[in-house]
Symmetry: C2
Subunit: 357 residues, 2 copies
């Protein structure tokens, strides 16, 4: 096995000990609250990480697209939720039908028209759906009090309604996690009541995200779908969801240029992704030094700045950058280098990279 210093930068590297600790911690959290865990595999897109999650007790996996579902079904995963309000054409319908015959599949829907298109484009039997409820992010999902109309339409169209899901995405903001977790519980509670009254099935009430996971209202939700927790990232560090030491994935990059209190490294937006929330300190952080910030990104340039007067690394030094949003960084890579105490012990293929369709 190789020493990491022989690899050509830039590359993404996973600290396997930190990863395993993160996987265990989330499983323990879910078990202690008696809620299921359907981790979102769009974060890592790797069969080896998903296997670790299932081995640690995940009750299923979550994906965002039909092609991600196909890839993970092919890799042997049997309980898959597509947490997305799909618009089902004839070709998508045929793919959903094929998937539902090889694994236990749940699919999202958030409109009467969407439910009808899905029923039209699939043979009805076996396709189970969750209605997406908007709990405050205002991205997709119906308002909690409109959930029954979608559930009833889905049921009359011949789909099997199993419950509801929501995404508390507005928890991605400073001190917003507790509010979002409360909104999530309330929205799912209202949805469940209205769905029950209308005669729809409600055995699944799914929510969750990495920032809100520890605040989940276990009395309401049946499961959570966090994704980022396996690797963590600069957003989670800056939100306070995790510590620097919990970050399991970094981008190794070489210092190629320097001036004053800045250096430029050879990992830019084509390695880290360009995600930047308004509250973020920059475009990422640096594993070696909590004082350093990634203040700018071009495609192949990461500009790292230290406070005035701080020493900066030499030309040729290798730094480990923490992406703001690890999901988009992983989706830029073909493989992840797996490291155990500084030695490469494996390479994991990002099997679902680019699986958007």
């Amino acid at each position: 096995m190789n020493l990491l210093e022989d690899l050509v930068t830039p590359y993404l590297v996973v600290d396997i000990d930190v990863l395993d600790r993160n996987v265990q911690a989330m499983s323990t959290l879910a078990r202690e609250r008696s809620i299921g865990l359907r981790p979102h595999v769009k974060t890592h897109k790797c069969r080896e990480v998903a296997r670790r999650q299932v081995a640690a007790g995940a009750t299923g996996i979550t994906v965002a697209t039909i092609s991600e579902a196909e890839i993970f079904a092919e890799a042997g995963f049997t309980e898959i939720l597509i947490a997305y309000p799909l618009w089902t054409t004839r070709s998508r319908g045929a793919r959903l039908q094929a998937l539902s015959e090889r694994c236990s599949l749940l699919v999202g829907v958030d409109s009467v028209e969407g439910a009808e298109a899905m029923a039209r484009s699939t043979r009805h039997e076996g396709l189970s759906v969750l209605v997406e409820v908007d709990c405050g992010q205002h991205r997709t999902g119906v308002a909690p009090d409109a959930v029954a109309s979608v559930a009833v339409s889905a049921q009359s169209a011949g789909l099997v309604v199993r419950g509801a899901f929501t995404y508390p995405g507005h928890g991605y903001g400073p001190r917003m996690a507790a509010v979002a977790a409360a909104d999530e519980a309330r929205a799912l509670e209202i949805a469940a009541e209205l769905m029950q009254e209308s005669g729809a099935g409600v055995d699944i009430l799914s929510g969750g995200s990495t920032p809100t996971a520890a605040l989940t209202h276990g009395g309401v939700l049946t499961d959570i779908r966090p994704g980022v927790y396996v690797f963590c990232d600069a957003q989670q560090v800056e939100l306070g969801t995790c510590a620097f030491d919990d970050v399991a994935l970094t981008a190794a990059a070489t210092v190629v240029s320097k001036a004053a209190n800045r250096v430029v490294v050879d990992a830019g937006s084509k390695v880290l992704g360009a995600d930047r929330q308004p509250w973020a300190s920059g475009f990422g952080r640096v594993s070696e030094d909590e004082e350093a910030k990634v203040i700018g990104l071009s495609e192949h340039h990461g500009i790292v700045e230290w406070p005035e007067g701080s020493p900066t690394p030499e030309l040729g030094a290798v730094l480990h950058l923490i992406p703001n949003h690890v999901c988009t960084a992983v989706n830029l890579a073909d493989e992840l280098i797996v490291s155990e105490r500084g030695v490469e012990v494996d390479r994991w293929l990002v099997i679902a990279r680019g699986a958007n369709g």
Copy 2:
């Protein structure tokens, strides 16, 4: 050949007529000013587009990384500039040496240490370098008045100094292009004078970018390296560098959810990239309607908003989104669908996707 409406969204589609017009227009511009054209192929990463650029008169191609150079050399391109201040380890040195034996290679350098590391890590003969000069972007490159020390060190270390290059990246701002083009010319003029005095070779003075190309000072520069012009993107539209009708690449996406004056489509940051300059109107535009803005992106959600009261597309409709920055969108795709008047006529592999090292 397929009708585009049968394809599964999201996908990137190139209008070949618009592309060809853009390729010709830039070649004409360069020819009329008697300057060379080394288009930056990091934008498209496709052999078919690079071949069109060379057929239209490009004097060489520009890349950002050694792996991009290797891929395009393998595809038969013979004149390649790596416009990046490389830090050359032993393994990178061996790759540069191999490249310089199969094509006419130029490499960037922006420090005495970088030049010495490059000379140490390669057999000296044949490796030609351009010194990178900072003309105002303050990313990489030495100040114009410091260029001679790098040139002289490179020459004494055994490299062949051929001239200088700069990138007027500060031209990416409203009404900044003319200022940046003037800065570019001035910086290269000073650099050339000092390099000549110090006895370094100065037969190449390279600059350019899509926003500044039409403003290039032909009396100073020997060539320009624009990239984005082949496809254009929302940034170029909003900077005024091109019109809506000049955009040759869009992301086809399906409306999956709608509410009030917004819809959500199935192309998010994993298709469009998350680039957003502070002056941009949002995360992209919509080919069908100049009034629509992409106001938010998640990984698989593009939130498109119309002015209050405007009609919005129906669920299931396909829109064509214009990415803010086309280079990062292309780097997320394995292939581009090539369309001629609405019919798929080809698929081009993004051969250098992810070639960051």
